[in-house]
Amino acid sequence: MIVQQALNALQLGSIYALIALGYSMVYGVLRLINFAHGDIFMIGSYAALFLAVYLNMPIALILPLAFCAVGLLGVTIERLAYRPLRTAPRASAVITALGVGLFLETITLAVVGPEPKKFPALIDLNIITIGAFTATNIQIIIIAVSIALMTALDRLIAKTKTGMAMRALSWDKTYAPLFGINVDKIISFTFAIGAGLAAVAGIFVGLAYPIIDPYMGIIVGWKAFVSAVIGGIGNVKGAVVGGFLLGAVEILSAAFLPSTYKDMIVFGLLLIILLFRPSGLFGVPVQKKV
């Protein structure tokens, strides 16, 4: 049963981690908590549903197409809603983010209606049973692709010029342009990657839990945000660790304690971690210069 629960935890953790990355990366370069991110994840699910049902595409095409389409949506949102407010007080930008999230939710509500939709089975389900342990091919694909994407992102940030520019920008926004970094381009790129990863998470949620509705991004978005904060918002590795940690705590507390306590334990953990490490597990405390 432990192995079974560990696999359950890995699947849930992968999804939280993919979304948490978007929160963390955007915070890293812009110091903005993008509260629309949970709804971008929801749009990812609907985009995949559209591609699968109306255009009959296979999963191998849907993943990259949804990644790009939703990435573009992320860039557009940044361009229209956040860029004009870049020098405005942070509170205005955060409120705008909440507004954008609600806008995405209501527009989905208006276009597709409030009824939950069945997400098509893009992959034929195979249940693998070994003794009392059961795994599905979908679980394995979700975990494997998520880890591959996270590794690729880590390489991108650590090894490429764009990655270096992202790190420079998150280090110091004022001086980065002096070294020839195109700030707007890097911010757009960050939004594209963050939104794209959220879209992939949206597709995975559709595969694993195949009923989607316009409100699906709210709770998952909050939990992913908590993951990012636990890991130290702004830190990419922290977001991944936070996502898997949250998935594990959620599954294990439901598994070994009365399942009623699940959310209490998850948010209790957040409070305890922040009490001892106010900037999260991997966060570096920022020293404000006067």
Partner: protein, 379 residues
């Protein structure tokens, strides 16, 4: 400039006065329905049935009240499937002075709306809320469905006697009044009957991952899994249960009774049972007419909420006709005297002082992607 402003203000006042001015020759009835939120199909069915019931009465010319024959007017409002909005909608109907309010449907919305209705002396009839406490110690609150106390007994004896299972597990939404209530009644009844409840697991509304709870249920070696949850979540739970290797029978309650569950669940629903209010394929003459009319009008089979809403209107119209008045107190006096009302979901018997009818339940089996009548259970 100043003049324009004055004109604008006058227009605004005019519109407000005009729109709040009550049409003196209609019987207005409020419908408090879940049109958005997690169970929009239920809300839609409720409003559809309400409009149909009103249209039928209006085609007959209306109802004779206060010495005049008046038409029925439906005021439908969305409660967004939220407790606070359901109460706000009830408040709105109070201020509009409707004769009665039909709805809300889900217990989590009906309970708060009932508090507003009772304290403002507004008659409320909930079509679908089965939680026992809804009508307890209330004078103005009625319903057209049976209660969970009865449904819990029906499910428990079905699993124990018909399925001959002795080990049952429950997975339910602890944040929703209905699910929690029926899960607890079932647990008590099943243990009383001599069975064992091997796992009693819960989750919160909106959760999509039930893998931890289902792994636990599987490890508890239950023969039957009882899922008293709403139709929008049940297919997910069943699919994950099967993926976790749970092979036993799965049984549900009346919250499964929307055809939407077949659209969302498809093959995985085949062979499963649930208890509910009525079965379209076992209908009486009155019910057959209702089903045919509803299908002709909306192109879909009426689900439980539609049938129960229609019955709620039936009860209300009957009382208004007898009272010959729009005054809520006179209507209530007749409603409380309604002892034997033949509805499309069966005959409702009200014992004195109770707003909850005594009526029979049916067991439905899902076969070939359709609801099929299986058994009737009388109280």
């Amino acid at each position: 400039m100043k003049q324009k402003l004055i004109v604008a203000v006058l227009i605004c006042i005019g519109i407000t006065v005009f729109s709040s001015c009550k049409d003196s020759n209609v019987i207005s009835i409020g419908v408090n329905a879940e049109l958005t939120g997690s169970i929009p199909v239920a809300g839609k069915s409720c409003v559809n049935a309400a409009k149909m019931a009103a249209a039928e009465i209006n085609d007959q010319g209306g109802i004779a009240v206060d010495g005049k024959t008046m038409r029925v007017e439906i005021l439908a409002e969305d409660n967004e499937d939220k407790a606070e909005s359901a109460a706000a909608v009830a408040q709105k109907f109070v201020s509009k002075g409707v004769v009665a309010m039909i709805g809300p449907n889900a217990s989590r919305n009906a309970v708060p709306a009932a508090i507003v209705a009772e304290s403002n002396k507004l008659i409320m009839i909930s079509p679908w809320s089965t939680i026992p406490k809804l009508t307890e110690k209330k004078k103005y609150i009625y319903r057209s469905c049976f209660t969970d106390d009865f449904q819990g007994v029906v499910v428990s004896s079905f699993i124990y006697k018909k399925l001959k299972a002795r080990r049952a597990a429950v997975l339910f939404d602890i944040t929703s009044e209905y699910n929690k209530g029926i899960a607890e009644v079932f647990k008590a009844e099943f243990i009383k009957a001599g069975g064992a409840v091997t796992a009693f697991e819960s989750y919160s509304t909106g959760d999509k991952d039930f893998s931890a709870q289902l792994s636990k249920i599987k490890a508890s070696r239950a023969d039957v899994l009882f899922l008293p949850n709403y139709y929008n979540e049940v297919p997910l739970q069943i699919q994950q249960a099967r993926q976790q290797g749970l092979k036993g029978m799965i049984v549900g309650s009346d919250s499964w009774g929307s055809e939407e569950i077949l659209t969302l669940g498809k093959d995985i629903m085949n062979g499963l049972y649930f208890t509910t209010h009525y079965a379209p394929d076992m209908a009486t003459e009155k019910a057959k007419k209702f089903i045919a009319d509803y299908e002709a009008k909306y192109g879909a089979k009426p689900d439980d909420v539609a049938a129960l809403t229609y019955d709620a209107f039936g009860m209300l119209f009957e009382s208004v006709k007898k009272a010959k008045s729009r005054n809520p107190e006179n209507v209530l006096a007749e409603l409380s005297k309604l002892s034997n009302f033949p509805g499309v979901t069966g005959t409702m018997k009200f014992s004195s002082g109770s707003g909850s009818p005594v009526k029979s339940a049916v067991v439905i089996q899902i076969r070939d992607n359709a609801f099929k009548y299986y058994d009737t259970v009388n109280p």
